[in-house]
């Protein structure tokens, strides 16, 4: 993606696919195929979640990238919890929508999107870690990676104070404010949507119970009883159709809007983390400025040196951040758009199918002679 010395090595982002997942006890292994942008030859590798974490660490700890802290890193989904070890409730808490769906399909999709986003990023796609991840036949996760400067942001108390630190740049201040606001709202919406989807699944289950109970109404003693049995069986079929409809509807929800909202929520977090890193740098800069001003003559030169270096870092980070934010805004809108359209189309198609089926049932019922 883009012209660089390693163009022969660069991967075609959209070609990255997770084609298979196998579960062995508590470990999931993902089969990942990809193609280089220069050739059509494909590569397939097998990775576990540790490998993904290794990749993310690798991206965080790239040394030769100026303003790395200004990059919005594509968010890696949380660790998958195979249902053998934990109840569904815990899985839902950890993974949200990614815990739903059959056979880890949604989770794989999220991982796939993560890799595609990394590969699409002008800076990150050049990372050796990515290349290694996608091509090396050995599992790279076993190597002890360097601890990056940017671990998963666990904010200690003093760090939290910095979050509210006033910005020197209006653009960034407003970005920070809207980020905080939107991030919370998206998180809330995602949670509420999850509630709705789980409710639909419960409704489908209840329909199933009802339908099964109706099947027990079989009595062949006399013609009227036979007729009554037939009516009950008909209702059973109808309720079964309702159940299947709800299952489809919730599947549609999960695989489109659910996934989209989840992704958007996590991306919002990633953006917030980047802005926070920049804010931390700002605090560092302002401290350096103060130190420099107050420095005694013998230390002044050193302090000024630190101050200049910090200023430079901060400026690069800010310029990278600005670019990142612009890309982010553009990309997320298009991503949400795609998910919303897909969701709507799927639900529309399911609703039409259901309509047709119920219509058939209705015709059959009306003709039913009693």
């Amino acid at each position: 993606m883009g012209s660089n010395e390693d163009s022969a090595q660069s991967v075609n982002g959209s070609s990255i696919k997770i084609t298979d997942v196998t579960q062995d006890g508590d470990t999931l292994t993902f089969a990942i195929t990809s193609q280089k942008s220069s050739s059509s030859a494909g590569v397939c590798v097998f990775r576990t979640y540790e490998d993904f974490e290794w990749l993310q660490q690798g991206l965080f700890s790239q040394e030769d990238v100026p303003g790395l802290q200004g990059v919005i890193f594509p968010p890696l989904p949380s660790k998958p919890l195979p249902s053998t070890s934990l109840s569904q409730a815990k899985a839902l808490k950890q993974l949200g929508f990614l815990a739903l769906g059959d056979e880890w399909m949604i989770y794989c999709k999220a991982l796939e999107l993560y890799l595609q986003q990394v590969a699409a990023h002008t800076t990150l796609s050049k990372s050796k870690a990515l290349y290694s991840f996608l091509n090396s036949s050995e599992s790279p996760g076993k190597q002890c990676g360097k601890k990056g400067i940017l671990n998963r942001l666990s904010q200690a108390m003093e760090e939290m104070r910095k979050e509210g630190h006033k910005d020197v740049d209006e653009f960034f201040q407003s970005e920070r404010d809207s980020s905080t606001n939107l991030s919370a709202l998206f998180k809330l919406s995602t949670e509420k949507f999850l509630d709705v989807v789980l409710n639909k699944q419960r409704l489908a289950l209840a329909c199933g119970h009802f339908s099964t109970s109706l099947h027990l109404c079989v009595n062949q003693d006399n013609p009227t009883a036979v007729a009554f049995s037939k009516i009950c069986l008909k209702l059973s079929d109808i309720i079964e159709a309702v159940k299947i409809n709800y299952e489809k509807v919730s599947d549609n929800d999960i695989s489109t809007l659910g996934l989209g909202l989840d992704l958007e929520s996590r991306y919002q977090e990633a953006k917030r983390e980047m802005l926070f890193r920049r804010t931390c740098k700002l605090v560092e800069l302002e401290t350096a400025n103060r130190n420099s001003e107050r420095a005694k003559p013998n230390k002044k030169a050193i302090m000024e040196g630190v101050q200049k270096a910090t200023q430079k870092e901060f400026d690069i980070i800010s310029s990278v951040a600005k670019q990142e934010i612009e890309h982010y805004h553009r990309d997320r809108v298009s991503l949400l758009r795609d998910f919303l359209i897909c969701w709507c189309e799927k639900q529309l198609s399911t609703a039409r199918e259901s309509s047709a089926l119920l219509s058939q049932h209705l015709d059959a019922c009306k003709k039913f002679a009693v």
Binding site: F186, D195, V196, T224, C232, A351, L358, L362, V370
Partner: protein
């Protein structure tokens, strides 16, 4: 027991008004395609009723809601029912029923409404111009009568704990037994219970299946009395109103009950004397009564010698079916609750999306999100309506039939009691005969005369009991047969209603998605 068995379209309603107004124009209305009738039986779309004084409550403007697509259950006389209830009416009733006068009154003054019984045992309610032994087919001749009942306009009277609800009971009929063609009265819940009490006293011993009244509910009524204006008390009132309507419709769909003077008085008379002793007769009281009867039967020392196996196996069937319906009722109940939950969850989601939409900076995305919030609001409404439909179409149907099956079981118990009385009379007769024989031996002529009189008296009683038992048996048999047919029709009718409401929901859903798609595509 059906609300939609075969009837003529009521002649006094404009047939144009029959068309229900659905949102989706392509959904057909039940305008005669059902085998039942051309009457427009509307789905139970339930919202708290608002009074609409100008509208004819029997037209589709709704007997009980403002939603356009509702209408009362129309009801016609079951003139095609197979029932020779009155086959040997006069003689037996004078002896069994204390208010046989009531029976005679029907046959007497309501002269035009002569009941005819033909050789095939069909009851045909005709006017005087018909020949007495005319046979009729299932399809209506032009001379049948109509009776439509609606229960509407609940109103709270009084204050505090003495408050009560009254309901407007409106009747439209061509039956000459009534003074006018259209009339209405206001009744309160205890009046309905009082009606049931009177009917069950009269008909219990005859083997007729009397529809049980709706349940009493202390909790529900207290909320209403206290004056809480919340959706749950409105829902309670609506649930009760619908139940009272179904109750009356079932009552008048029974050919014997339709002609009962108490029923007619209930429908017609301005002021009814306040019914007392209604405690025992609703809800748990009703069930207690039934169970007491079965306990009594179980304690019978003389085991019933069932000459006809039909009764034994039918009773078993009834008990099995009760169990089944109970399970079904629980299933549907849980379904309704899940749907209500879905309603509130959808509403919360819609709210959160609306907040998103207003905070979102990208204008097209913001608009799409706001549209999405509106879509979800519509979905919530759909879920709500579907929940009501589930409830009123299915849950209440099952609950009604659970009570009806209880009533059927009660009739079986009554029959066994009649048998018991017959056996006891026989054994008393036997004792009297033995006493007479003893007297013959001991030669006391004056006491002999008394003994002979006793024997004659008890012979007559035995004969009476036997006839009673035969009558109740044959009536019960026919009643059960009628009941089963009605049940079939009722269930089918309601399933069709339910399907129609599901289909309507789906159509509206399709429209929602179709409207949203361009909005989503417009995001840039």
């Amino acid at each position: 027991m059906s609300l939609g068995s075969v009837r003529n379209p009521p002649p006094f309603l404009d047939s144009e008004d029959q068309e229900p107004e659905y949102d989706t124009g392509d959904l057909d209305s039940d305008d005669g395609e059902e085998i039942f009738t051309g009457t427009s039986n509307k789905p139970f779309v339930s919202t708290p009723p608002e009074t609409d004084p100008s509208s004819d409550i029997f037209s589709e403007e709704g007997s009980y809601t403002v939603q356009k697509h509702t209408a009362p259950k129309t009801n016609g006389v079951q003139s095609d029912e197979e029932l020779d209830l009155f086959a040997e009416a006069t003689v037996e009733l004078t002896l069994t029923a204390p208010n046989s006068r009531g029976r005679k009154e029907i046959i007497g003054p309501t002269e035009p409404l002569s009941t005819t019984v033909n050789t095939h045992g069909k009851l045909h309610v005709a006017n005087t111009s018909n020949k007495p032994s005319e046979e009729v087919e299932e399809e209506e001749s032009g001379d049948t009568f109509e009776l439509n009942i609606a229960v509407t306009n609940p109103e709270k009277m009084g204050d505090g704990m003495n408050a009560y609800m009254t309901y407007k009971v409106s009747t439209q009929t061509t039956l000459p037994a009534f003074r006018s063609k259209t009339f209405s009265v206001r009744r309160r819940f205890s009046d309905f219970l009082g009606l049931y009490e009177k009917l069950s006293v009269k008909y219990n011993l005859m083997g007729c299946i009397i529809p049980p009244p709706p349940q009493k509910s202390v909790v529900g009524m207290t909320k209403v009395k206290v004056g809480k204006e919340d959706p749950s008390s409105a829902e309670f009132v609506e649930k009760r109103r619908a139940a009272l309507e179904r109750y009356l419709q079932r009552v008048v769909s029974h050919p014997a009950l339709l002609q009962d003077s108490d029923v007619q008085e209930f429908l017609e008379r301005e002021e009814l004397p306040r019914a007392v002793n209604t405690q025992a007769l609703s809800g748990s009281g009703f069930l207690k009564m039934i169970n007491k009867a079965s306990d009594a039967v179980n304690k019978m020392t003389i085991k019933m010698n069932e000459s006809d196996n039909w009764f034994e196996s039918k009773l078993q069937e009834v008990e099995n079916e009760e169990q089944l319906l109970r399970r079904l009722h629980a299933s549907v109940d849980s379904l309704v609750n899940h749907r209500k939950e879905l309603c509130s969850n959808t509403a919360m989601f819609a709210k959160s999306v609306a907040m998103l939409g207003s905070s979102e900076e990208n204008s097209a995305l913001s608009r799409a999100l706001s549209q999405l919030a509106e879509v979800e609001d519509k979905l919530e409404q759909l879920h709500q309506e579907q929940a009501f439909s589930d409830f009123f179409t299915l849950t209440e149907l099952l609950a009604d039939y659970l009570r009806l099956l209880g009533a059927v079981r009660g009739c079986f118990e009554q029959r066994m009691k009649a048998w018991q009385r017959w056996q006891e009379a026989q054994s008393t007769l036997q004792k009297k005969r033995e006493a007479e024989a003893k007297l013959l031996w001991s030669n006391k002529p004056d006491k002999l005369q008394q003994a002979k009189e006793d024997i004659t008296e008890w012979e007559a009683k035995v004969g009476q009991c036997e006839r009673d038992f035969e009558r109740i048996s044959s009536t019960l048999r026919k009643e059960v047969h009628r009941f089963e047919k009605e049940k079939c029709r009722d269930f089918k009718h309601h399933i069709v209603k339910y399907l129609e409401s599901l289909l309507r929901s789906q159509h509206r859903l399709v429209k929602c998605w179709e409207a949203f798609l361009p909005e989503a595509k417009a995001i840039v």
